[in-house]
């Protein structure tokens, strides 16, 4: 367990031209606003840099020159600069956040829209949590970059230029004296930065270890307790925890030294200024105000240097997040609408599987040359043991996955030539585990098509025996549906899904019957609704109810990915083959249960 090291978040460059260029594409729509923001920056700094200068004039010229009027004027200017700086700083922050928020909203939208297009196989491979993180956490890290990364780095650079030029303008000698500390400081800061970066990497690694170990220990606590590993596990955790603490102790020392050094450097520069400048003032070459102004400039100079390593870290994680987001955006959409998509008219509800081969994983075929034809209006039940491939069959019909060999034709046209949306419009799907979206009941029945009239919704619900219980809900058709429909019973959810099919009105119905048991009353309602839904439709059913296979026109028996038997219930029973055994295994029991139930009712 000591090796619980998780993949450490790889931190690479803080600046990657390729990524920046792609990020820039998201800024382009707001180019003007962005430019405006960038122009505010030097303006804000000009107001800031002007203040010490005005201080100098006030002291040297007017206080020393005993000019009250002049002092008042220069102080009014100071006030104006102060207000200007405040307003410009606010405006810069506000507008740059506006650009950032809009770009990031666009990015989130783009990722979401892209994810909608990804094939089902992608979702089989990638856990939901990770995809949610891409759209939320990773995008938020980019926001950090806007608010405290690149833009401030740039602004720091401009600031340094401002200060250095103004210093030299004021007094070359003093400028040189105050900047004398810069080279050794740069050297020292760089030293600490390199150290801090190595240490930062170490810290991240150790945090990841502690957290991974903790997560694992919490989820495997029962095992730890069962095998009496508490003490040993604790010791291992303590060790990781100590490593983590030690890494931080080191980092605290670096940070403390760096921070203190910058603060001290400001004061040392002041001492040097007074040492050298004092003489100049005494000789009357410069005024006291100049020394005061220089002191301010030196202070403003060192602060951004101190914060550099922090910003570097922000940029690093921003680049890592951008990389992950773009990777997702670059994921190929392998099930796409064909170029010359066909929408055959008139639509015939005919389905043909012709020598279909399919595998989720290469080399492990689930369907091996499956062929069958379903005539328009025919009801076909697919039966088979678990792992026979029956569920896969229905997933292929609406092109949730593409097959590797053979063809699937709907209304005489290969599904890969169909317009994807049109194809799916003709195929209604009812799955075992009915999925309801949070929202209201009506929303779940019309599924995003606001043009559906309330009349039609209610008619469908009545037909599917759902109207009655919907009406009893506090808000009727507008009653809230909780996440995953948790506030509806299994039976109610099934009725809703049947109503959904009726609203939708597809010519072909594909259904994986629910296995979970419901009470007899609801069962009767579902049975009745099912009969109505199946009427006049081509149906491909994975049957779990005895009545469903009895009512089917034909039964296809899938076994280990192949069609082994086909025919009506009676024919297949006579054959005494696979179906016969399946029947005994899966359905006979139900028959027994039904008859015994009937018996008991008679007795009662």
């Amino acid at each position: 367990m000591a090796q619980a090291a998780q993949q450490e978040e790889v931190l690479g460059k803080a600046y990657d031209v390729r990524l920046i260029r792609r990020l820039w594409k998201f800024i382009v729509p707001y180019k003007r606003l962005f430019l405006f923001t960038m122009l505010l920056l030097p303006l804000q700094q000009a107001f800031g840099v002007a203040q010490p200068y005005l201080m100098k004039i006030g002291i040297d010229q007017y206080i020393a020159g005993k000019d009250l009027w002049g002092l008042q004027n220069v102080m009014l200017l100071f006030l104006a600069a102060l207000i200007g700086e405040t307003v410009a700083a606010f405006a810069h922050h506000y507008f740059s956040m506006l650009v950032a928020q809009r770009c990031l909203a666009d990015m989130r939208g783009a990722v979401f829209a892209h994810v909608q297009k990804l094939p089902m196989s992608y979702f089989d491979r990638n856990p939901v949590g990770r995809l949610v993180t891409r759209m939320t956490t990773d995008v938020d890290v980019l926001q950090e970059m806007f608010s405290s990364g690149v833009l401030t780095l740039l602004s720091d650079l401009i600031m340094v230029i401002w200060i250095v030029s103004i210093m030299f303008y004021l007094h070359v000698g003093l400028a040189l004296v105050s900047l004398a500390l810069i080279p050794p400081m740069m050297f020292a800061i760089n030293f600490f930065r390199v150290k801090a970066r190595q240490n930062y990497r170490q810290i991240r690694e150790r945090i990841a270890r502690v957290n991974a170990y903790l997560g694992e220990a919490i989820s495997g606590m029962t095992v730890i307790q069962l095998f009496s590993r508490e003490r040993k596990t604790y010791r291992e955790f303590e060790e990781l925890n100590a490593d983590h603490r030690d890494a931080y102790h080191l980092s605290n020392s670096y940070e403390a030294a760096l921070y203190s050094m910058v603060e001290a450097a400001g004061s040392v520069s002041l001492g040097l200024l007074l040492w050298y400048g004092g003489g100049e003032v005494l000789h009357g070459i410069i005024g006291i105000g100049t020394v005061v102004a220089f002191k301010e400039y030196v202070h403003r100079f060192f602060v951004p240097m101190r914060d550099f390593s922090q910003k570097y870290a922000v940029m690093q994680s921003a680049m890592a997040s951008a990389e992950r987001i773009f990777q997702l955006l670059d994921t190929e959409v392998d099930i796409q609408n064909p170029k010359n998509a066909v929408v055959p008219k008139p639509f015939r509800g005919e389905v043909v599987f012709d020598n279909v081969w399919f595998s989720y994983k290469a080399g492990d075929p689930v369907l091996k040359g499956v062929s069958f034809r379903i005539a328009p209006g025919e009801k076909v039940a697919v039966v088979g043991a678990t792992g026979s491939g029956k569920t896969t069959t229905i997933k292929l019909l609406n092109r949730s996955y593409d097959i590797q060999q053979g063809s699937i034709k709907v209304s005489g046209v290969d599904v890969r030539e169909w317009d994807l949306h049109a194809l799916r419009r003709h195929i209604g799907v009812v799955l075992q585990d009915v999925f309801l979206f949070s929202g209201d009941v009506r929303g779940n029945l019309i599924l995003g098509d606001p043009s559906v009239s309330q009349e039609r919704v209610e008619q469908a619900a009545r037909h599917a025996n759902a109207d009655q219980f919907i009406r009893q809900l506090p808000d009727g058709y507008f009653a809230q549906v909780h996440e995953r429909g948790s506030n509806f019973s299994v039976g109610q959810r099934q009725l809703l899904s049947l109503a959904r099919v009726l609203v939708f009105g597809p010519e072909i119905l594909v259904m994986d019957e629910a296995t979970s048991s419901v009470d007899t009353e609801t069962e009767a309602l579902i049975q009745d609704a099912l009969d109505k839904v199946m009427r006049d439709r081509t149906c491909l059913l994975i049957a779990h109810r005895l009545s469903t296979i009895r009512n089917a026109d034909r039964i296809i028996v899938l076994h280990h990915g192949e069609v082994r038997e086909m025919g009506s219930h009676a024919e297949l029973m006579e054959k005494r083959g696979i179906y016969h055994r399946l029947y005994q295994l899966q359905y006979e029991r139900e028959e027994l249960k039904l008859t015994s139930h009937a018996d008991s009712t008679v007795i009662a």
Binding site: I59, Y62, A217, I218, G271, I288, L585
Partner: protein, 579 residues
């Protein structure tokens, strides 16, 4: 908060020295403007250059010294924060190890993780940067105000006039920002649950061509998020410029009012310079005042939540003077045992009226459908849960009287859901043994039929299995956990449907290999497959938490009840498999 003092006291020396260093730093920080004032006064009043240079040197010396003392103060106090974090995390971990399965079922891993990570970090921030600023702010204020008053009372009052404004601004905005950030967070969770739902229901989204509709909905929520974020950005964007602006205002007052006074001749330029310097020193503690308060607030709230966990009494523990256990001598007995999950099934018992005896060297098999309560029976044996009523006796002693660790050490338990740690296969299998011989390991691996898999792994036993054993198949994981229990070579073995992901062929081989091994053990075997239990000395058939049939395999088959039915069904499906 009592516990917090405990930790603080443990590191009192660091805090004390750190505090003294802070005081030293503050003194040096305050001295520099004072000497600057001296220099300027000398210049102003026309003193000698050597005096100027004397004070300049003094300032440089103070600056260097200040750098050193400050480094120590920060490092000491921040490190003390990390030390407390370390202790707190260890203590929490040790406590979590004592809490029973029921606690982990009631609290999700993610929630516990975030508590351990975020709350501990909040406490650490309070004890590091929080303490530092908490000490610093009053020291700086007292120092600076006294020094300013000693220079000029009226100037001090004028200069400090905008400070109340500063505090009001800080306070007002802090409240607004907190409210606004809460709204942003809420909207973010709305956004993520939309994504979450969309992704979980992707098959429906695709089947009903809902992609565009879903995207439109998302964009709408996304827009709301943008608007809320901008509201917060507006507030955030105002605070810093305003703070700086107000600070600039104090300097403006000093120069203006001070200038007028200098012109009048009752103040020196040197005083103005010193005032500006002191006001600059006060700018940070003033601006950080609200921030510091929120650090402390957050830290205290986090500590309260952590104490909640630490105060949770371990519901399952050895009693005060536990009886030691050394193996099973006669028998284990379930006497009219019932168990109900707390609140989960509104009082409906998971099992009820379970009585049976398991004599040493014998085996009992449990079969039944999913949800019939078989696993619950297994979980009661190593006290993962305690019975709700009735009792379980080990050689006549109730389980609760025995030493918990002894009890667990005497049984090999193979859970239904195989859990492997992200280390090597070897370390996972040897989890229950500190020392073992390679022969013992080989034997356990052979019986669990893991030897064939090992031959394929290039690194054999040293293969890392990945998080939760992801690199292994379900069957391999189950066989590894079986080998783990077998290696323990404990007198009692509890197998909880541990071969469900193993194919019928391999299962038969494993069962054949297990048979001679099991002869020496006392076993409780749970399975949904008849094949695993049919050799047991007694078989119990469970339905809805109650024993509905019991007896030997032959007798049960002859009886023609539920067991016979299950047996028939499984034979059919085996037949079907072979077609």
């Amino acid at each position: 908060m009592g516990r917090l003092w405990l930790y603080l006291r443990r590191y009192w020396r660091r805090y004390l020295i750190g505090g003294l260093c802070l005081l030293g730093t503050a003194t040096l920080v305050m001295a520099i403007p004072w000497w600057t004032r001296e220099v300027v006064r000398i210049i102003e009043q026309g003193g000698s250059l050597s005096d100027v240079r004397f004070y300049a040197l003094l300032i440089i010396a103070a600056a260097v010294l200040q750098g050193i003392v400050r480094t120590y103060s920060r490092a000491l106090i921040f490190n003390a924060g990390r030390d407390v974090e370390y202790d707190l995390r260890n203590d929490l971990f040790a406590h979590l190890e004592k809490l029973p399965l029921a606690f982990y079922q009631a609290n999700r891993t993610g929630d516990l993780m975030s508590r351990v990570i975020n709350d501990i970090s909040a406490v650490r921030v309070m004890l590091g940067p929080g303490v530092l600023n908490f000490v610093n702010a009053p020291v700086y204020y007292v120092y600076a105000v006294i020094l300013m008053l000693s220079m000029d009372v009226r100037m001090t009052l004028a200069a400090l006039a905008p400070f109340p404004l500063l505090m009001i601004v800080a306070r007002v905005f802090r409240g607004k920002i907190m409210k606004s950030s809460l709204e942003v967070q809420q909207q973010m969770s709305v956004l993520s649950s939309h994504v979450q739902e969309n992704l979980s229901g992707m098959h429906v989204v695709k089947a009903y061509s809902q992609e565009d509709f879903q995207t439109r909905q998302f964009i709408e929520l996304n827009k709301d998020y943008e608007v809320k974020s901008m509201q917060m950005a507006k507030m955030r964007g105002m605070v810093n410029p305003l703070m700086q602006g107000i600070n600039g205002l104090t300097i403006l007052i000093v120069i203006w009012y001070g200038g007028v006074r200098v012109l009048r001749g009752d103040l020196l330029v040197a005083d103005i310079v010193a005032f500006i310097a002191y006001l600059n020193v006060l700018a940070w503690p003033t601006a950080a005042f609200g921030w510091m308060l929120s650090l402390v607030e957050r830290g205290r709230a986090a500590m309260r939540r952590l104490e909640e966990i630490l105060a949770t009494e371990p519901a399952i523990a050895s009693q005060a003077a536990p009886l030691p256990v050394q193996g099973l001598k006669q028998c284990m007995e379930f006497r009219n045992v019932a168990f109900a999950y707390n609140g989960q099934r509104n009082g409906h018992a998971a099992i009820e009226g379970i009585s049976f005896k398991l004599a040493v060297g014998k085996s009992v098999g449990l079969v039944g459908r999913i949800g019939s309560g078989k696993s619950t029976v297994a979980q009661l044996v190593p006290r993962l849960f305690d019975v709700s009523s009735g009792e379980i006796l080990l050689d006549g002693q109730p389980l609760t009287h025995l030493s918990l660790s002894d009890l667990r050490r005497m049984m090999g338990y193979v859970p239904q859901d195989p859990f492997l740690f992200s280390t090597t296969l070897r370390r996972n299998i040897a989890l229950g043994r500190e020392e073992y011989s390679e022969e013992e390991l080989d034997r356990a691996i052979k019986i669990a039929k893991l030897d064939r898999d090992l031959a394929i792994f290039p690194r054999g036993l040293e293969t890392p299995v990945g998080e939760r054993g992801v690199t292994l198949s379900g069957g391999q994981k189950q066989r590894a956990t079986l080998a783990r229990a077998l290696l323990m070579d404990s007198p009692v073995l509890v197998l909880d449907d541990c071969l469900s992901s193993v194919d019928a062929q391999t299962e038969a081989e494993i069962l054949a290999g297990l048979r001679p091994f099991l002869k020496k053990k006392t076993c409780l075997i749970i399975s949904h497959r008849i094949s695993a239990v049919k050799d047991a000395d007694e078989i119990l058939v469970l339905d809805d938490g109650k024993i509905i049939e019991r007896g030997g395999h032959e007798a049960l088959v002859r009886r023609g009840g539920v067991y016979a039915d299950l047996y028939q069904q499984q034979r059919l499906s085996e037949e079907l498999d072979q077609i």
